[in-house]
């Protein structure tokens, strides 16, 4: 393992986030905080409890998950897309490093950034809404696995995209809507029976539910179903990345 190379890519990506601290860190924290203010404190005060917790507390795990998913995807996709766009990818592809090391550098940095953001938003949420975390280790595990999995997805998108439009396509038109409809703001018990069944086809339901379970000990689906889903996501993402490097898809003609 060429750790020096992995460290170099990792630190370069992390310093890119720091260079653009307003866009990378402050902006998602502010926008998520606004959700807490509007839905948690303002509107939430007029909504009764959901699944035994206040509405403000109920939406905390979902909002953290929403931010985590979108940030993981956009950071990782931009991280690999930009060198492709600028042409400087030649240096990475001609360096004496393996594909695994390239992935570790880029995806590791994107996941770290999302993880840090997730913890910052968690701390910020606590300023607006009182809540407790019943299973902090499970919560951390979910946070890490989700950040990793969706950073891998972002990496795949960054390689697939051949322009800025496609780069934004999946985070804006797939990840965000599915997360919104995946129980971020409501329990699926609140939906009519037909839509409850349809919602179960949305993979985000399992991620949001599992994460919420680590906070309050209850979720829309069983914790094991959530755990299976995140591991399955991770497995599929790893398989696709492996295929990309084996075939040289959009990287090595």
């Amino acid at each position: 393992m060429n750790l020096q190379s992995v460290k170099t890519i990792y630190l370069a990506e992390m310093s890119r986030s720091l260079r653009t601290v307003l866009q990378s860190i402050v902006s998602p924290v502010v926008s998520t905080s606004l959700y807490f203010v509007v839905f948690g404190a303002a509107i939430g005060s007029r909504i009764s409890e959901v699944d035994g917790v206040s509405y403000g507390a109920f939406i905390v795990p979902g909002l953290i998950m929403l931010m985590l998913l979108t940030q993981s995807v956009s950071t990782a996709s931009f991280g690999i897309f930009f060198p492709r766009f600028s042409g400087s990818i030649y240096e990475i592809l001609s360096a004496p490093i393996s594909y695994l090391e390239i992935v570790l550098g880029f995806v590791g940095a994107a996941a770290t950034k999302s993880l840090i953001l997730g913890l910052i938003v968690l701390g910020t949420a606590r300023l607006f809404v009182p809540f407790t975390i019943q299973y902090p280790l499970v919560m951390l595990l979910f946070l890490v696995l989700t950040a990793l999995t969706f950073s891998l997805l972002g990496f795949i998108i960054g390689i697939w995209a051949d322009g800025f439009e496609k780069l934004q396509l999946v985070p804006l038109l797939v990840v965000t809507p599915l997360t919104f409809l995946g129980g971020t703001f409501y329990s699926i018990d609140m939906l009519p029976p037909f839509w409850q069944t349809v919602t179960l086809l949305n993979p985000m339901v399992y991620l949001v539910s599992g994460f919420r379970w680590s906070f309050y000990g209850s979720g829309d689906v069983s914790i094991w179903a959530s755990a299976f889903m995140i591991v399955a996501f991770l497995g599929v993402s790893l398989a696709v990345v492996n295929w990309i490097f084996k075939t040289g898809y959009r990287l090595k003609p």
Partner: protein, 335 residues
Amino acid sequence: MTISFNHLPTATPEAGAALGEAEATGSPMIQVEQLDKVFEGGFQALKNVSLEIQRGEIFALLGPNGAGKTTLISVICGLVRASSGTVRVDGHDNVADYRQARAMIGLVPQELTNEAFTTVWDTVSFSRGLFGKPRNPVHIENVLRALTLWEKRNNRLLELSGGMKRRVLIAKALAHEPKVLFLDEPTAGVDVELRREMWEVVRQLRDQGVTIILTTHYIEEAEEMADRIGVILRGELVLVEEKAALMRQLGRKELTLHLDHALEQVPAALAGHDLALSEDGHALVYTYDVTRQEEGTGIAGLLADLEATGIRVKDLHTRQSSLEEIFVSLVRERA
């Protein structure tokens, strides 16, 4: 401008000794064998290319646009996958032993491909780390000073001129102390002064034992720099020649003698000279070799014989075929 690479690690006595040992083995630095590349869609960019590049030489690869120069470099550097054939760098297969092979190579691409928002120092240091080398600020400083980039080390790349950006690409390629340097059109779009500065840089690197392969459109560049020249046309390597041998071809000149009266044929008295008669009979064309200084060009003898035969010359001129003409005629021959 004086550029000194004397302080670079490649110039150390140890490096020199290592190079000496390697030279003693006589193995080439780069061995390309029967390389083919067919892109998706069926375009064959390389056709059965075999090539050996010796240690410490400057090899110039010439060819028109789309001939396959960049593809060949890209395959050697691992950017493009070969359809068949092998590439060895210092004996290491560039697929099976890609780490060892790639660690020896520095690549300066044709396009100015930089991350605009990073500083010169950061991007050059990044390149070193990417190749698995530990931090070495002294080496980075030496490279930047040698390429007159030191004053710009804290500037972001978007603030630099085109020439400066190209130097940054060279600095990045040298950051990990490569033994082989690929320069893909290094002076494309660069003004004359900077071009000469870059030639000086390349020579100094070669003097320190770095093997250099450059692609160029400028025949002058190949003539000025290269030890050997390869010509690639439509994916085929059609010529690999010592520059000195090509210069011997260049040394052939033509003397055209315009005659007062047309001749029907070359007179028998002049048969000892390499003469050809023009179609209209008004000119005699004499071909000779200027490099054969000791034997003479034969012009004096020819003129004496002409006078003896009574043929009057009203004008004369000479012309020398350039490397460019040889190149162009090669291209035409194979078109």
